[in-house]
Symmetry: D3
């Protein structure tokens, strides 16, 4: 091999060399400034890439190979430390470009607040957008101790933007107070508590044909399966159920137009199992949702 | 805020400032001197308190908020290193005071031997006491290599004190020898092997109206869910099943008069998932059992 | 006690002092030179021994005690670093001796390639041998980037030696490419994807009376239950299902003539839960399969 | 002992029960929102308290016992996540109260930016204040990528407030660019590169009689001695040299009027040696500087 | 190789197969029941053995090879959990046998209390015994909170047995209270604070020709060099200074008649550097002191 | 910013985008197949790159900024697992290209055997080459248990190729047997045991004007400073002494024509201090040696 052609830098395995011939764009959003408990999701995207080295390229679940789908790993957006407002503006601008070129944005967090500008950007193109939200936490607060830009508010913001009746939450087992759950009930938002795969399979037919954005917070998994996250919450689902959910979406008739996987904080998990699981989820998303 | 009113020291979240206006008393028993495999549960109570910072205060399982229940975290009893007999005497004396004031004792271990003086103290007040014992280990030994004060003997002692027919063990998947299991069979003790939630739901109606003490050894969970414990034992239950058990007791007609959660040894778990799970169990116990 | 009789060195608990009065021989194969992702299974055998200290000697699953079965822990074979060919030859020679003496070989890996010489050795004695293969990975490659001696090839080699129709794989959820799965389909090999206990119980009656070799790759477990392995793969089975599989074999009519447990890499698991689970599996194998 | 008198919560060992009879006030500032590399110093103060349990109460260096000095551990200031401006305002207000009561503020960080409001508060009372700054980093930036409230700016701010000629930096071995070092040279600030104890002993006589504030960034130590910090920097001093520096100040004629110890991020150090060292430094500061 | 000759179990490298042809006996004392801070030294001896695999067998410091010295690793004494009195009696009896046979006892701890019965046993044979004590802690307490059998008392007991003027302590930088240091001054015990190699080289000529027992507490090293210990204490010596001390003794004219290395608690050190250093110290002790 | 210009993948900070305008080429050699103790240096190069994010770009030691030197990080050479011979051939071919283009090769290991093909390649261009070898181990074996391609042989091979009198070893404190040290003495090789900076400063003037290749094994540092390495060896130098050595070479009159830094195995160091130190060494090498 020639030295000027060696594997240059670390990207998700099988990334195409440029964005031109790629249908999907993987990008990291290394932001964790508003996290209330354990920070560190800023290191999530790169460790997910690193763990992808250990993945097989073929999925026996979907009988597809990573070479069957084209994507470009664009690296991390260089977000400014401690400045949520500017970070969100940068993510928004970045996502706008991807969408403008007709590509599938696949964002890696970072804290959950990064989902907000992504949904805004997608919604502009798809006014009939639905959001599938898979998470341990409702994230429906108006603000967090007075701060509207918080990792516990993005789904509330999404509801207010696209209509709560277009938001479907799964796996919720924690929320800050009764108000979040009361809002869920009164606003028309769909919420499946504790479970993911079963209620999702019931909802998917109702969304057939619609453009859907999917946001996955890794903490929907039990800490046994994903200890490397900021706000781990006991009582969650297994990696197997998460895979089942990804495959259910892949085999449904919804039209996935963008997705993110957030809150992977690798430093709390010396076993690396969280990034190993997350990189497998990314592979299955690429193979199943990017068409 | 005024500096002399700042959050002073570390207690379980939402602890009342004094015991006077509290129904339940949380207290730590940092003792691990008789542990045969991996010591370290002496650090359990304080790390459970620390992890409580990451908890939401509202439970969507029980639709209750920590402000709906009054409790005081009294800190750890200063037990003497390496002296099981004196430690047990101190715990007994401590528990007597709590019970005398009509409060609910909620003890955090420490090794399982600490349960013995707690049951003794409770039994004095409630002669018709039943004990629900949730654990990977039978803990029915008469002694451990000649030593009657051992972490593998407390349930045997309880049986001899309150009558084996009043003790109900769940989740048992390990025991030192056939004698423990033979004793279980012959003594009239109820033992559900391997499982917890299902058999518990069958037993609870039989205990309706009775005063019940509940002791939970964190190692009933599979090490996947609670690696931070001294004698981890593969093949256990999930955090979800543990929550299901806590909620089943909460919704039953038994009269819980005291409880403990023992054998959390945080140093074996750098992911902190064990204390994160334990602090959630404590929250649900407070919300569900303290009435 | 006399100082010249003290517990001398570290072996699996209750190992007999010499091989003469032992039915089974435990031995380690500390080899990981062809591992593609995370090396370190060379340390597996000794840490499994160390964790056996924390085991109870009695199994409530099988109602048997380790004193009911005779085995000798012979230590590790001193394999040459970085030389797969010589290592395999040494394992083969070693296994031949055990089999010649009519003893049950129970090998601890080490990478999965060590299984290949063990199957060869057993097959020489039992020409009607069947192999039960429990693993996350198909391990059916002809070679790995041109190298036929690789940790991803042993089951392919076994198929070619004893006939693919005599190989039964369980729990497979990963493979390098379509070719492995196509080979599985076309060759007559039995493969149960994703699950272990249920399909195994269906197959066992068909193998009644036959000599069977069982190879277990610890990575069949989900990383939640066994993070300490080289190529962890999300979406696996629980420790409980693994125990169920071991017990199903124990209670079946197959004639287990040898076994191995491979790919335990303890350094990736500071919680030690992987070696704790593995040592329990070894105990149940000894109690259930050595007759 | 009586249960309502048990050790209630976790404070630095030998803390007095109230602030009234205390000369010094220990308080935590759990803020890390502007950290550019590894966040997590928000957990520093509580883990330093926890590690103090392992300390002996007597110092053979100073021949003093913790009972010889009175201090109150007031807990952590509840700072708002992700909001540097409000956090700094709260710290300022908090410090003002301590100083007003004539007490010695001993702050535990948190990121280094917390030093800025402390110096402001102290300076108001002592217009002839000098600052001793012990750190790996110059922290002399005007801003960090446009953000003036950054963990790399507090010493620049201090220079501008109290005059660069009143600031003495020791141990500096890193800085963002030439500008920081050029500013150091041109502004009149004293800077000792790489070393601490030797240059400090030369400077202390010049400061005799003056009120001095001392700020210690734990990263002045080599990562070998303090791996648990956000921006670890190889090539630092030993714990022994840090102790030597603390004792040199204790035995000098300067009048220490306040101090802080910042940037302890315990999650990066599973050995706990960073908090163990930090808690010893706090003990020696209490014994040596609070008079 | 023949399978019945394989490396059987885990012993310190190059251990002779039986004690008969060995001059020195290595044995473990896995006891940590009286430890006040972080327990776990019970696992020290076996992890030191395991780390010895990574050692070279030749010492360029002493120009000797492990084959030049004969020793037998007898394994661990099976001490009863939580029973200090019986444990000490067993160690005493065990040591008596070794000494009776004229062999060199080299004990591995375990907590420092194990040194007490070893000194008693040696003293019986050598009434003119001197003790070299290398440690961070004075260990001169009469009792610990009323308990005379504590890890902080063994040197006091030794002083009372063999005369304080025959005890030489080095590296001491911590003690419970002034009384320990006052006792040191008044009793005639020699104590070098903070340093080891330099004062030791001054003392060794005074001990020429005398029988000497050497006890090394690993916590004399700074936690940077030995984080895996129960009561880590910042400000200690380096591994290099420890080696220098061992070599100074080796090259002196004292007659070393026994030694121990205690307080290695491997679970606090995931880097394994503590056991790696300890195993090297054991090698140098074997090569330098066993003559 | 435009999404197709985002930071693409992970390289050493400030790497130029292509090799054309770069004087030096950084490349990884992720090979650890012949390691005898703890494998894992295959992950070294990428974690050094990752840690470079935390570095400041300016060096106060050398008063130079990373923008003052041009280099290209070419990524890792994709070496075949478990095949030392082919790996070495690939490295050789790769290095030949770099040298042919007149660029400075800066290789990151990987095990020390990778140094051998690099020296061969450089020597072809510079027949009067001298080698500076900084390491804990002599690496002078002819073979390792019969295997000539071993991590303990590269310096022997270098001696035989370029003449032992042209090889200068520093910091050596371990070797497999007397033969290595006897060879050192008899062959004319220069060896400074235990120390690095002082003897190096004595030797450098003798090498003035000569082309010099420098190979640094990270294990020359004490495990306190670099625990993340395969064969950690207590008694080493500090990070500060390593920096002093790098700067001494930078300020000397030797003509450095290539260099490597090997044996960084990040998984043994959860504190990340080893890669943090290594990335700083790389920065100083770039700033000081590439002219």
């Amino acid at each position: 091999m020639r030295f000027d052609e060696a594997y240059s830098g670390k990207v998700f395995i099988k990334s195409r060399p440029t964005h031109e011939d790629a249908k999907a764009i993987i990008f990291g959003m290394p932001m964790d400034w508003t996290v209330s408990f354990r920070p560190g999701s800023r290191f999530g995207p790169n460790r997910i890439r690193e763990a992808s080295i250990g993945l097989e390229e073929y999925s026996p679940y979907l009988d597809r190979h990573l070479e069957d789908v084209s994507y470009f790993d664009a690296g991390d957006i260089p977000l400014p430390f401690g400045n949520p407002a500017r970070s969100i503006a940068m993510i928004r601008e970045y996502a706008d470009q991807i969408i403008e070129k007709g590509k599938f944005p696949l964002g890696l967090g970072g804290e959950h607040l990064v989902t907000w500008p992504l949904i805004e950007a997608i919604y502009q193109k798809y006014p009939d957008l639905a959001v599938i939200h898979i998470d341990a936490h409702a994230d429906l607060r108006v603000d967090y101790e007075g701060e509207p830009l918080s990792h516990s508010t993005p789904i509330r913001k999404a509801c207010e933007k696209i209509g709560a009746e277009n938001v479907y939450s799964f796996g919720i087992r924690s929320g800050g107070d009764r108000d979040e759950f009361r809002y869920a009930e009164e606003s028309g938002l769909y919420m499946a508590k504790f479970e993911v795969a079963k209620p999702l399979k019931e909802i998917l037919p109702k969304l057939a044909g619609r453009p859907v954005y999917v946001t996955i917070d890794i903490d929907v998994l039990d800490p046994a399966f994903a200890p490397g996250t900021g706000t781990a919450e006991a009582g969650g689902i297994s990696s197997r159920e998460m895979l089942e959910a990804i495959h259910a979406i892949a085999q449904s008739d919804v039209h996935v137009v963008g997705a993110d996987l957030v809150e992977v904080a690798p430093n709390y998990d010396p076993t690396e199992q969280t990034v190993i699981a997350a990189s497998k989820f990314v592979r299955e998303i690429l193979l199943g949702w990017v068409k």
